[in-house]
């Protein structure tokens, strides 16, 4: 790093958002600096050692299609891979992997180290350089003033962090890192809305102290799937299993007796925790009739002796944690290596952001990751990627990339956050995506690689390979539609063998493929079917296209219906009080949210279709005035 240097982009924070942001910016050729308070914790998994899952795996594939880090890193660091929802349809199938923490960190670091235009530097950030209302750089802990066209803040839970274990609490970031108190105070002084959230982790257990004999083993899939389209297929390390155990009435009794010492119930914690990831004390209180809760014992790594008992995050006092853990099957002799704790932290209201993740109040400042109220590595990484791209676009005066809700989970994520904000740590679920059927893991590349190409994130060779793949799918679709099979071509026996029952009337191969009981392989076995596609990915794509056809057409029509006003920009300085006909309530909502587009305005709860019509009339009137 050069202390005199002017950067295009400075990324603050070396977590999952920060690494994706820095990597994306550098890939676009921007002179990029990643500043982190510890180079040794770049790519650190501070919570559970796993990547992916339903909704989250989708995000990883999207990051990957844009040329990002996460998919490649987990392919090199995963020690148990599974495809979830295997028996359900392709839209909701998702990949998940347990990670070796050390291998993951190393993989991320290696990917960053290989990346041209990217420098890493270890220092804290105490302040932002703001000139004429625009962010121009940062001031570091040792007093360096580093200038940049755009700054991406990805400081996670480090803002105003407070850790709770029973009735003990102290200031702190995750896993022992120092909190950025100075920066937090600086941000609090800005006109940004700040609120508080909390999350928690379970105590870690020494694997040697666990009796696995009585527990259910959960092995990974074989062959193990890959996340990244760039992986060759030989990157996975050795595979290990997880194990499943349960809490029981004795466990729950220990918890109940200690509730009065829980900071959650004593009122010590003010932050709101996630409903989908409650602490074990929450589960016991809220679902009092349940006499057991599932726990997944997840290995932290191939060489690590620590196990992450997923399902019992807690902020109960340490003596209760010991008693509770030892009451669980297989854990009678458990030795805790680190206590569980809850952490409260500040987040900045994401409604103060443009969907490009640029601050509405401070041009040049981009925010990504947990600081925006999300939880999860994948949600953070996806935002980082978007913020990194848009930080560069900002400097180059290019239009920002704002994916729509029907284009990517990333679009759902930023639209939800910047339109509605969040009151609990935001996690992705597939049920958040109304266009779920078209937002699949399997077509993330088809959806996003053209965007990646436009923004200069992938090279020519990869683009050509992608185009060949896309053309192969189109060709195969046409072939299936144009190849007609007649009953006479088959004969009853052959038809029945391949299709389950004889063919009654002539049909295209595509029409046959629409039937859920007929697979592509069944068709390929038909004597009259012609030459099948060789690439299994092409076979998969045409099969899904056949199965989902009617639904996808309807969704496309819905998208078309929305799109007429979806992208109509609302001026940042629009005075809603002057829009004729708007009710006071709607005026206040719009003034509060400051939607970037008419589509976003329409999704704000309480904004009626009539209000959207009024806005449209207002905009049109402004335009007619100008052209008059």
């Amino acid at each position: 790093m050069d202390s005199q240097s002017q950067y295009d982009v400075i990324v603050v924070g070396g977590g999952h958002a920060g690494t994706e942001a820095a990597h994306a910016a550098a890939r676009m050729g921007a002179h990029t600096l990643l500043l982190t308070q510890s180079l040794d914790t770049i790519g650190q998994m501070s919570c559970n050692p796993a990547i992916g899952g339903i909704g989250k795996g989708h995000l990883v594939r999207e990051i990957d299609a844009m040329g990002g880090v996460m998919g490649r890193a987990i392919d090199r660091a995963g020690i148990q891979f599974r495809v979830l929802n295997q028996r359900k349809g392709p839209a909701v199938r998702a990949t998940r992997a347990q990670a070796d923490r050390n291998l993951y960190r190393q993989a991320v670091r290696a990917i960053l180290d290989e990346q041209p235009h990217l420098s890493l530097f270890q220092d804290t950030v105490d302040d932002l350089i703001v000139e004429r209302g625009t962010v121009r750089g940062v001031v570091t802990g040792m007093g360096l003033a580093l200038r940049a066209t755009a700054v991406v803040l990805t400081v996670g839970t480090f803002l105003g962090g407070r850790i709770h274990i029973g009735d003990h609490n102290r200031r702190g970031g995750r896993a022992g890192d120092a909190p950025s108190i100075a920066l937090a105070e600086r941000l609090r002084a800005l006109p940004l809305r700040v609120d508080r959230l909390k999350t928690g982790t379970p105590p870690r257990i020494d694997t040697a102290s666990i009796d696995y004999r009585a527990l259910t083993e959960q092995p990974g899939d074989s062959p193990a799937p890959y996340f990244s389209r760039w992986s060759r297929g030989d990157e996975h390390p050795r595979s290990v299993s997880c194990h499943i155990t349960h809490t029981n009435p004795v466990t729950h009794e220990h918890i109940r007796k200690a509730l009065h010492r829980s900071p959650m119930y004593s009122g010590e914690i003010e932050g709101v925790g996630p409903r989908y990831c409650p602490s074990i004390e929450d589960k016991v209180v809220r679902f009092a009739d349940r006499d057991g809760h599932q726990i997944f014992l997840e290995p932290e790594g191939l060489d690590s002796r620590e196990v992450y008992p997923n399902g019992i995050s807690t902020s109960l006092p340490f003596d209760t944690q010991i008693a509770m853990v030892r009451s669980i099957d297989g854990l009678a002799g458990a030795r805790i290596t680190r206590p569980g704790y809850a952490i409260e932290y500040d987040y900045l209201d994401p409604r103060d952001l443009h969907p490009s993740l640029q601050s509405l109040h401070l041009p040049g400042l981009f925010l990504a990751g947990q600081i925006n109220g999300t939880t999860g590595y994948e949600e953070a990484g996806a935002q980082g990627l978007l913020a990194g791209i848009n930080a560069v676009a900002h400097g180059r005066e290019m239009a920002p990339w704002v994916p729509a809700r029907h284009e990517a989970y990333l679009g759902v994520l930023v639209d939800d956050l910047t339109t509605r904000g969040t009151s609990e740590p935001y996690r992705m679920f597939t049920s958040r995506a109304e266009y779920r059927l078209q937002l699949r893991e399997d077509n993330a590349d088809l959806r996003l690689m053209p965007v990646a190409r436009d923004y200069g994130l992938i090279d020519e060779g990869d683009w050509q390979a992608f185009c060949a793949y896309r053309d192969a799918i189109d060709r195969e679709r046409r072939r299936l539609e144009q190849t007609i099979i007649r009953p006479a071509d088959l004969g009853d026996d052959h038809g029945a063998t391949c299709l389950g029952k004889p063919l009654r009337r002539e049909q295209s191969l595509m029409a046959l493929l629409r039937r859920p009981e007929i697979s592509y392989d069944d068709l390929a076995a038909l004597s009259a079917a012609g030459e099948a596609a060789a690439d299994p990915r092409v076979r998969e794509q045409v099969t899904i296209a056949a199965r989902y056809e009617g639904y996808l057409q309807r969704q496309a029509a819905q998208v078309e219906k929305q799109s007429r006003y979806e992208d109509r920009a609302l001026p940042a300085d629009l005075d809603y009080a002057r829009v004729a006909g708007l009710s006071r309530e709607v005026q206040e909502k719009l003034t509060h949210h400051r939607p970037a587009t008419l589509g976003q305005a329409a999704r704000i709860p309480g904004v009626t279709p009539a209000a959207v019509s009024l806005l449209l009339v207002h905009l049109q009137r402004g335009e007619q005035r100008q052209s008059a």
Partner: protein, 443 residues
């Protein structure tokens, strides 16, 4: 939003013999040919028979065709001039919806005209007012349409659908959780049951739309003034028991009739007098209540004693305009029948003056604002129920055919979106909230 093809009744509600329906948008031509045959010459009226999907005549009237951009809205516009009764108008609208139109939002025709540059800038304010006021009226009309049993029924449907979605969505998003999810075959049965409930609600609402609704006309007056006779005469049948004895009608009787297609609910009440027995007093209490809720009161007066105390007392309606004096028994007094300055003279016995009374009623009821809005609101509700029923059918067949849960879930989401147009949307946040409070989720 300028989007798709819209239709609406363009004439004031319930008035006059002619009703005009206007259609605007790319499917306007298809609507015209579907309802009334080939496209006529632009901007010339031609007489056509309007037909339903089976070719059965619905009405006869004029059609006009204004191809865009030289039309009021700048889009293709079709106009249908039919007989103005709400029942006929409703049938025509339903047919147009089948043909691809949707009901216009308040002010939407003007909005489109403005957005397409067919209206100058100075009108923007007026259009904004139209949208704002119109949507307010529509909202209150939707509330009125949603009163009572219908609302409970729809709420119940929403609740049942939500419960199914809670199970289905949680089995998709929370695979590692040991949820007591529903097996897909049981799910299909339960979805089918909800589908039947939707259809039942739709049928109830559909018949209610024409029969249960309409203006409320209460016939009141002193005992034995001939209220029940007048009701029977209006209906053309013996709905009420008529005797020579005063106080025969002790409860409120009601019946429905159409005045030139305007649905009217006529209620006969107990005669109003003091010193009645307990049963009759209860009848009088109910009569007072009916009058308080009436859109219009026909106060029947025995023409032989026109100045006798009418017994209305405290039940006198707030607006005198909502009351018509009907001088009955003119066959005995020889007053000329028909509408006069202070009321309408009739003979329920001979039928003299009844036509005059009907057209008088038609006039006073037809101008009731809001009635058409409620009608439109109910029409929207029916359309939403139709869409929900179709989406549920699709979910059932997907579940039965062994398609993935995500496809069943997609159809249920559409069904819920449709019902949400009636009751307000169930958002993802609502659904997730339900999932997290129903199931213990989180590993």
């Amino acid at each position: 939003m300028p989007d798709g093809t819209i239709c609406a009744i363009a004439t004031p509600p319930g008035r006059g013999g002619i009703g005009v329906i206007r259609v605007s948008g790319e499917a306007a031509g298809d609507c015209l040919t579907g309802l009334a045959g080939r496209l006529p010459e632009p901007r010339t009226a031609s007489l056509r028979t309007f037909r339903d999907a089976d070719g059965e005549p619905l009405d006869q009237g004029l059609v006009l065709w204004f191809p865009g951009p030289d039309s009021f809205t700048g889009e293709d516009v079709a106009e249908f001039h039919g007989h103005g009764g709400p029942v006929v108008m409703d049938r025509l609208l339903r047919r147009l919806i089948e043909l691809g139109a949707s009901l216009a939002e308040p002010g939407e025709f003007s909005q489109r005209a403005f957005l397409n540059g067919r209206m100058d800038l100075t009108r923007a304010e007026a259009i904004a007012d139209l949208i704002a006021a119109g949507s307010e009226a529509a909202a209150s009309a939707a509330m009125r349409s949603l009163e009572g049993a219908f609302a409970h029924r729809i709420q119940d449907l929403v609740e049942q659908l939500t419960e199914l979605r809670v199970h289905l969505e949680s089995s998709i998003d929370f695979i590692d959780e040991p949820l007591d999810g529903l097996a897909i075959d049981r799910l299909a049965d339960r979805i089918e049951a909800v589908g039947e409930a939707v259809r039942a609600a739709r049928e109830a609402a559909r018949s209610g739309q024409q029969l249960q609704e309409g203006a409320r006309v209460v016939i009141a007056g002193a005992p034995n003034a001939g209220k029940s006779s007048l009701m029977n005469a209006l209906l053309g049948r013996d709905a009420a028991i008529v005797t020579e004895l005063a106080g025969t009608t002790r409860d409120v009787l009601d019946a429905h009739l159409h005045l030139d297609g305007l649905p009217v609910q006529v209620m006969d009440t107990a005669g109003l007098r003091t010193g009645a027995d307990v049963v009759e007093a209860e009848g009088i209490r109910r009569a007072h209540q009916a009058m308080a809720e009436a859109d219009h009161i026909l106060l029947v007066v025995d023409d032989r004693n026109p100045d006798e105390d009418d017994g209305l007392g405290a039940a006198w309606p707030a607006s005198a305009a909502a009351l018509t004096r009907v001088y009955n028994k003119i066959d005995l007094t020889h007053r000329p029948p028909g509408v006069g300055d202070d009321g309408v003279a009739v003979s329920a016995l001979t039928g003299a003056g009844l036509d005059g009374l009907k057209s008088h009623l038609r006039g006073v009821l037809g101008v009731r604002a809001g009635d058409e809005a409620v009608f439109t609101a109910r029409r929207r509700h029916l359309q939403a129920l139709d869409e929900a029923a179709a989406a549920i059918d699709e979910a059932v067949s997907a579940a039965r055919a062994g398609h993935g849960e995500e496809l069943v879930a997609e159809s249920l989401r559409c069904a819920q979106d449709s019902l949400g147009q009636i009751t307000g949307a169930v958002t993802t946040e609502d659904l997730l909230g339900r999932i997290f409070s129903t199931f213990c989720i989180g590993k």
